[in-house]
Point group: C2
Chain length 275, copies 2
C-alpha cells in the first residue's frame, strides 16, 4: 500500500513536469519561432498524454476473465498502444501545414527559443530519473522518454544555431524530428499488428515440445499463440496407446499442463489414441 | 478467373474515380474557399487510400498457418483497419489548424465551390454503384462510401448557402463534417480493440454448449474466442466416466470437434475423468 501510494505520487509528478516541459517548449516554438522546438513540444505533450492513456488501458486489462472474455482482458492493454498511436498521428497531421509553410516562406528564429527549449529539456531530465523509480509497466514509456530527451537536445541545438546563423539549421532540425516521429508511428504500428496476430516464438514452441517428448510422448498437432508479452495459450494433440485408460492418460496430461502453466504457457491437451 | 478479372477492373475504376472526386473537391475547397468542401475532400482522398490499404492486408491475411502463426494469418486483416485509422487521424490533424484559423478570422466562399463539390458528389454516386458489384470483402468499405455520399451532399449545400448568405453556414458544415470524422475514428478504434480482445458472443457459447450437453456430457471448463469475424477457436474440458477407454472417449470427442468445425468453430477437447 505504501509502495502504491509512492508510485501514485511519482506518477502525478511526472505528468505535472511533462506538461510543464511541454508548455516551455510551446513558448519556445510558437512565440520565439523555432520549428524544431515546436515539433519537439508537440511530441512532449503527446508523450505525457500517452502515459495517461496507457495507465487507463492497463487497469482495464487486469480485469479477470468473464462470460465474453474467457481468456481474460489482457489484450485490452493494446488499447493503450492503439489510442496512443492515433494521437501521435493526429499530432503529426497538425504539424504538417506549418512545416510546409516554413519550407516555402522561411522565417526568423529568436535565440530565446533555445533558452525555453533547454529549460524544457532539463525538466525532462528529472522525468527520466523519476520513471526509473516506478514499476515495470512503464518499460515502453521509459524508452519513449529517452527518445524525448535526445529530441529535446536536437531541438535546443537547432534553435540556437538557427537563431545565430540561418533559419535553415532550425528547419533541418524540425524536419529531422518530424521524420523520426512519422517513422516511430509506422514502426510501432507494425509491432502492434504483430503482437495481436496470434504470433508464437520458436523459443516457446521448443519449451513445449521438449516437455512432451521427454515424457516419451509424440505430438500429433499443436497450436500455440502469444496473448500478451510473456503469456501464452495453446492446444496440443498428443498420441497415447489406444488401450490406455482415460484415468491414466489424464494423469500424464494434467502433469504436462501444470508444468507448462508455471511458465505462463496455458495449454489444453487432447489425447489421440495411436493405432 | 473471369470474375477475378472483372473485379480487378472495377477496383481500378473505383480508385480512379475516387481520386478524381477528391481532386474536384480539393479545387472546390482550396481554390474557391469552402471549409466544408475541404473537409469532405480530405475524407474522400482518405477513403480511396484506405481501399488500397485494406486490399493489401486482406491479401496478407489469406496466407496459410505457418511455424510462427499456428492459427493462420487471419488477424493481419486488422492491419487494414489499423493503418486506415492512423491515416484518418493524420488527415484530421492536417485539417485542424486551418479550421481554427477560419473560426478566428472568417473567409469568403465562392459559389464555384459548390459546383466542384457537386461534381465530386456525382462521381461518388458512380463509385457507390460500382462497389455494389464487387465481393463481400468490401462490406465495411461500402458502408464508408455511403457516409461519403451523405458528407458530399452536406458539403455541397453548405458551400452553396455559404456563398449566398454567410461564410458561417459553410463553416458550420465544415465543423459538422469534422466532428463526424473524429467521432468515426474513435468509435472505429473501439470496435477494433474489441475485435482483437479475444471476445466471444453468447450465441457461439450457446451453440457449443448445446452440442455437448445434447450428447449427455457435462462441460467442466471452457474457453472460446473470436479470431476474426465468423471464425472461432477454443478449448473445452468435458467430464467422462473414469473407467471409459481412451478410444471410446476419443470417438465422442472427435465427433463433437468435427460437428463444430463445420460452423467455423475449431475446438480442442480435453477429457476429464469424473469420479
Amino acid at each position: 500500500m505504501k509502495k502504491a501510494d509512492d508510485n501514485k505520487k511519482i506518477f502525478y509528478t511526472i505528468v505535472f513536469l511533462g506538461f510543464l516541459a511541454g508548455i516551455l517548449k510551446i513558448i519556445g516554438g510558437v512565440v520565439y519561432m523555432s520549428r524544431a522546438v515546436l515539433v519537439d513540444a508537440a511530441t512532449s505533450i503527446a508523450n505525457i498524454l500517452s502515459l495517461i492513456i496507457i495507465m487507463y488501458f492497463i487497469s482495464m486489462s487486469r480485469r479477470p476473465p468473464d462470460a465474453d472474455h474467457m481468456y481474460g482482458h489482457l489484450r485490452y492493454a493494446f488499447g493503450g498502444d492503439l489510442f496512443m498511436l492515433l494521437f501521435y498521428s493526429f499530432i503529426a497531421g497538425i504539424l504538417l501545414p506549418d512545416l510546409v509553410n516554413s519550407v516555402l516562406k522561411g522565417y526568423k528564429v529568436d535565440v530565446y527559443a533555445s533558452v525555453y527549449s533547454f529549460s524544457g529539456f532539463m525538466t525532462y531530465v528529472v522525468v527520466v530519473f523519476l520513471t526509473r523509480r516506478i514499476g515495470r509497466v512503464f518499460e515502453i514509456y521509459r524508452k519513449m522518454t529517452y527518445i524525448e530527451l535526445v529530441e529535446g537536445a536536437v531541438a535546443t541545438i537547432s534553435a540556437f544555431t538557427g537563431s545565430l546563423y540561418s533559419f535553415y539549421l532550425d528547419l533541418a532540425g524540425g524536419l529531422s524530428l518530424y521524420s523520426i516521429l512519422v517513422f516511430e508511428i509506422l514502426s510501432s504500428a507494425r509491432i502492434l499488428l504483430l503482437d495481436i496476430s496470434d504470433v508464437i516464438s520458436e523459443e516457446i514452441i521448443k519449451i513445449v515440445s521438449e516437455e512432451i517428448t521427454r515424457k516419451g510422448l509424440r505430438i500429433s498437432d499443436m497450436r500455440l499463440r502469444q496473448v500478451y508479452q510473456g503469456v501464452y495459450y495453446g492446444e496440443i494433440i498428443i498420441m497415447f496407446p489406444e488401450d490406455m485408460s482415460l484415468r491414466e492418460a489424464h494423469k500424464i496430461i494434467d502433469e504436462i499442463e501444470r508444468t507448462l502453466s508455471k511458465r505462463n504457457i496455458y495449454v489444453t491437451i487432447h489425447p489421440e489414441p495411436s493405432k
